[in-house]
Symmetry: C2
DNA sequence: CGCGTCCTTGAACCGCGTCAAGCCAGGTGG
DNA sequence: CCACCTGGCTTGACGCGGTTCAAGGACGCG
């Protein structure tokens, strides 16, 4: 697919391009952008890949990963609709992280030259993008602190709430709208799958969650929140929300 | 001090304002900015303080901290000349982190209204600031991964190299150009002072460093780098450098 | 039906944080 | 000028949490 999705006709209200570009630039970007579709399990880009432009998620679910020794992965963040991917920059030429589709994912792609011109001609777009990065960085700083101070059980609780914040839950059965392997959940919580397992069964015994096959229902969100409240996360309620609302 | 330091006459080449504002805006900002001096031990701002504008470090040494339960601090980053402090934003009204002077520190302060106008009228300034945040965020993502995978000894090595990267070493005796308490080093490495101590004495026995009172001399930087190289930090060499050079 | 992959649980080891006690240095007051 | 005191530094011993290792179970697919 190429250029089949028009920005001017796009109904995505959160999109930063849609919101902060004037009509002329919306049309210009729309004409020249690409629209790609990735299947569950595809890499959108990998660590060390060259950067050619800016990816914006149109729909779907993405994990952002960084790989350590022995190919041990850490999921450093999650992305969905309206999130930029991989933090495009001009001085760093290659991605330091990888982006992986957890589900069928549609992305818009703006090549570097074009998006640079857009930034130069739409101050509000550049400003909004700066705000986005600035706020993500603030969150990350607080996150660095609490991840270093939480124990395994708290990290798992935090992970579940983070998943809920980004992908949401099904209102009917409270199930998370995403399916991850135990390994992936451990990569996100920052532990090993065995320990993750123990915490999950423990949570189930305490009736905080319910395991339904690969699905997880969050039956007591307040209970989970209380478990980690003492880490000075009163800011938690809006910590992981999309920052430009 | 107020308005005594003129941007137009400033010789600081790294300053983002100096580099990316036109002459007219340099003069305008210069007239209306404030210049503050903080002594060693002063807070520039604390967590939860209201945000009134943007701080830029003119000279000195600053630690950025986040506080957890029982007032346990984590140093989430360090800042020196030309670094913005606290990630000014319009939607978040209060700082999520605190900034603390480790040494006599001079800062320029631009109030929110003024800096907003500057951003709207100087696309290259906004763009450069966006790039700064974008790159800091990338570093932070990789950092989140390796901090979660390193053991105590590696974290201490990483901390020492980070200190060198930001504040540098004295070419004569290789001593770090900054003095921190054991507690602060532990807050930075993400451990307890006792463990930090053990690693430092261990490093000294291995002739990687030398303790000279409160000073620390890095006598074998390559050795320290090798200790953590297996964490896929080949990007380390420029990872913590000031990103806009 | 058989195989493979992931999930799950148990057991053992060990790294590191906690606690406690001694040490050293710098500051203060007699 | 020296004795005392206080706060940070240093080292040792202990115990717990979590990772690792190993084995059995469940599920899906050919």
């Amino acid at each position: 697919m190429n250029g089949t999705f028009s920005c001017t006709e796009c109904t995505l209200k959160q999109c930063i391009v849609k919101r902060f570009c004037n009509a002329k630039w919306q049309a210009l970007l729309s004409e020249n952008k690409n629209h790609f579709v990735y299947q569950k399990g595809d890499y959108i880009f990998r660590e060390q890949d060259r950067i050619f432009g800016l990816y914006m998620v149109y729909s779907g679910k993405v994990k952002i990963v960084s790989t350590g020794e022995n190919h041990k992965e850490k999921i450093v963040s999650l992305a969905t609709t309206a999130y930029p991917l991989g933090h495009w920059g001009t001085s760093v030429q290659t991605y330091l992280v990888g982006a992986f589709a957890l589900d069928e994912t549609h992305v818009c792609f703006f090549d570097s030259d074009m998006i640079y011109e857009a930034f130069m001609n739409n101050p509000k777009l550049t400003f909004a993008m700066m705000m986005f990065y600035s706020q993500e960085l603030q969150k990350m700083e607080v996150r660095e602190r609490y991840l270093s101070q939480m124990n395994a059980c708290e990290k798992v609780a935090e992970m579940l709430l983070y998943l809920k914040e980004i992908f949401g839950t099904n209102p009917e059965d409270q199930c998370l709208n995403v399916i991850l392997s135990r390994q992936e959940m451990a990569d996100l919580a920052g532990g090993c799958p065995e320990q993750l397992m123990r915490e999950l069964t423990d949570f189930e015994n305490k009736q905080l969650i319910e395991k339904k096959g690969k699905q997880i229902a969050l039956t007591n969100i307040e209970g989970l929140t209380e478990m980690i409240a003492h880490h000075n996360l009163d800011i938690y309620s809006n910590l992981w929300k999309y920052p430009l609302n």
